[in-house]
């Protein structure tokens, strides 16, 4: 289990690196989508089918929006500049310093993270506390066979309400931002 997941994750990381370095924005988006679908596989492996369904649909919709954004606006421009700077960027000291600092940040974060999680439960040996009540006896309380839905809509229905509100907010926000004229 751990090994399969690790392999998927490594593929996701490689995909992510490719997405960040792709010259063409569209291919970057596609690889980003692939990483997203890799996440779906992880969810399925981790016994989270609800999440897998949501993630696959959300990823698709996000991809549609992103491609709609990128398709006829920037791809061309970026390609051109990317080819021009292809050789320059390799010896660009500023970019190199940026990368170097990022790597240092990454190493420090990784090291502290490693240090921080040493005494926590290792993978697969989770102990229940709050969700024990949700799992065993939760179904009797809510009447829902799908325990995630039970948690989502009953025990933590208030969270779900907040989540729906966020979508509502985002819809209103997008409508607000995509106005042509702001002031009369």
């Amino acid at each position: 289990m751990e090994i399969i997941l690790s392999i998927v994750l490594i593929f996701m990381i490689i995909g992510a690196l490719f997405a960040l370095h792709a010259r063409d924005l569209l291919s970057a988006l596609i690889s980003c989508g692939i990483v997203g679908y890799g996440l779906v596989i992880c969810f399925l492996l981790l016994k989270a089918p609800d999440l897998a369904i949501v993630q696959i649909v959300v990823e698709t919709i996000t991809l549609i929006i992103m491609i709609a954004v990128v398709l006829d606006s920037t791809r061309h421009e970026l390609e051109k500049t990317a080819i021009e700077k292809k050789w320059k960027s390799l010896i660009n000291s500023k970019a190199l310093i940026n990368v170097l600092i990022t790597v240092i940040i990454g190493i420090v974060l990784l090291y502290s993270f490693r240090l921080a999680i040493t005494h926590l439960n290792p993978f697969g040996e989770h102990i229940l506390r709050m969700s024990e009540a949700y799992l065993y006896g939760g179904a009797d309380k809510t009447g829902s066979a799908n325990l995630v839905t039970g948690v989502l809509f009953d025990f933590r229905g208030y969270d779900t309400f907040g989540e729906a509100t966020i979508l509502f907010t985002a819809a209103i926000g997008v409508l607000t931002i995509l106005r042509i004229k702001g002031r009369k």
């Binding site: 996701m12 992510a16 924005l25 999440l51 959300v58 990022t102 325990l147 969270d159």
Partner: protein, 112 residues
Amino acid sequence: MTLFILCFVLFLVGLYGVLTRKNIIKIFIGLSFMEFSTFLFLVLIGYIEGGIAPIISKNITNPVYVDPLPQAMVLTAIVISLAANAMLLAIAVKIYKKYGTFDIRKISNLKG
């Protein structure tokens, strides 16, 4: 532990994208990787070895379920990130209209 470390590496890759890429879309992609890794992290926490998906079926006796709470949290978080991403893309579209570029070095009217 390896999985958590790998998951965190994905986070760092996203961070690397945010820190070094100059294109709005690339930054956006970097942010999504960070989101992915956080979601995965939460679900990894809740996994129990040998557990089954938290859906009750009458065929199994004495079932061990994986923790549904992180799943519920991630579900919420996915939708939240969808909302945030939609907003960010809307802004990106408008910015492209006004500035004519996705290069953040040129989108620096506000400074000082």
